[in-house]
């Protein structure tokens, strides 16, 4: 292995440590925000926002998505699109007309 390559890994490792610190801090922030009792809409939005940042950090740096081949991005774009369709499925099928009516 060339020295150049080893230096590359050292740079990676420094990034991993930084990402770890960021994830730990954001975990504390998530819990701290909960104790502020902001109300349902604000706390759901904020908690999901922080979780998305944390998830992106893991995906980009630990999973190396920041520099990946095109095919992996293609697979993931398709997956994310279907994932959101899945999440919207209850809304798209107008569940409110059928569920919780009896209650």
């Amino acid at each position: 292995m060339s020295d150049n390559h080893a230096a590359d890994i050292d740079k990676h490792v420094r990034t991993y440590i930084l990402v770890f610190v960021a994830l730990a801090v954001l975990t504390v922030v998530t819990v701290a925000v909960y104790y502020l009792h902001l109300g349902v809409v604000a706390s759901v939005a904020l908690a999901l926002f922080i979780a998305t940042i944390k998830g992106s950090l893991v995906a980009c740096f630990f999973m190396h998505l920041i520099s990946e081949k095109k095919l992996v991005y293609a697979v993931l774009i398709l997956t994310v699109a279907f994932f959101f369709v899945l999440l919207l499925l209850p809304v798209l099928t107008s569940f409110a007309d059928h569920i919780g009516v009896a209650g």
Binding site: M1, H5, A6, I9, H12, V13, Y16, I17, V19, F20, L23, A24, T27, T30, V31, Y34, V40, S43, V44, A47, L48, I50, A51, K54, G55, V58, A59, F62, M63, H64, K69, K70, L71, V72, V75, L76, L78, T79, V80, F82, F83, L86, L87, L89, P90, F95, A96, I99, G100, G103
Partner: protein, 256 residues
Amino acid sequence: MEIPYVVEARPDTGLNNGKLGIWLFLASEVMLFGALFATYIMLRVGGSTWPAGAEILDVPKATLNTMVLITSSVTMVMAWASLMRRNLGQFRLFMSATVLLGFAFMVIKYFEYTHKFHHDLFPSTSTFLAIYFTMTGLHGLHVFGGMCINAYFLGKAPGTLLTTAGLAAVYLALLGPLRWAAAEYPGFLAGLCWLLIVALPIGILITAWLLWTKNNSMEIWRTNPQLLTNRVEHAGLFWHFVDLVWIFLFPVFYLL
């Protein structure tokens, strides 16, 4: 027989086959957990009431578990970086730490689950608990699976030892609440029997298989170190995905 494209990239995909394979698998995993997240949304929006998770679940324990899993993701990626530097000793250290942190996560989860059972909180108690146990249970299963794969890369003796210890811990973890439940509810005695009849032989078979089969991790290290490095990277992608799922499960169930 030489298997092609395990180290070098395929010209048409630009990836080695293992990398593409694990990403396709993770795509299917996204849909698996996605279906359950969609179920959660439907149950929550469709229900007339929804409990505050923090009043039922243990926020400090879950916060600790979040930290444990995040740390294990760092040790996992450091294990890969150690192999990139061709430093086997350091790899063993970080990989063992990853497996042990996974173990710590499961132990904390065990105390959480048992605490719920002792307070008569079962999956059948409420819709909230049903989806909570389903999703965290499936996630825990993924942690356990990842631990087995990671332990395998440590070589035959440590791999077999760690997996067997993990299996034994799972049985002990199941035995406690099941024995208690059998005393409280006679119907649960059947569950206890099922554990002994079905699960125990499966565990013994897994250990026997690990002892009998060839674990070629160290051999690969000697003959083709980049192949082991790639395998560890792919196992890492799975492990980080499991961490990523927990990052969302934690606020969704405990804090919202």
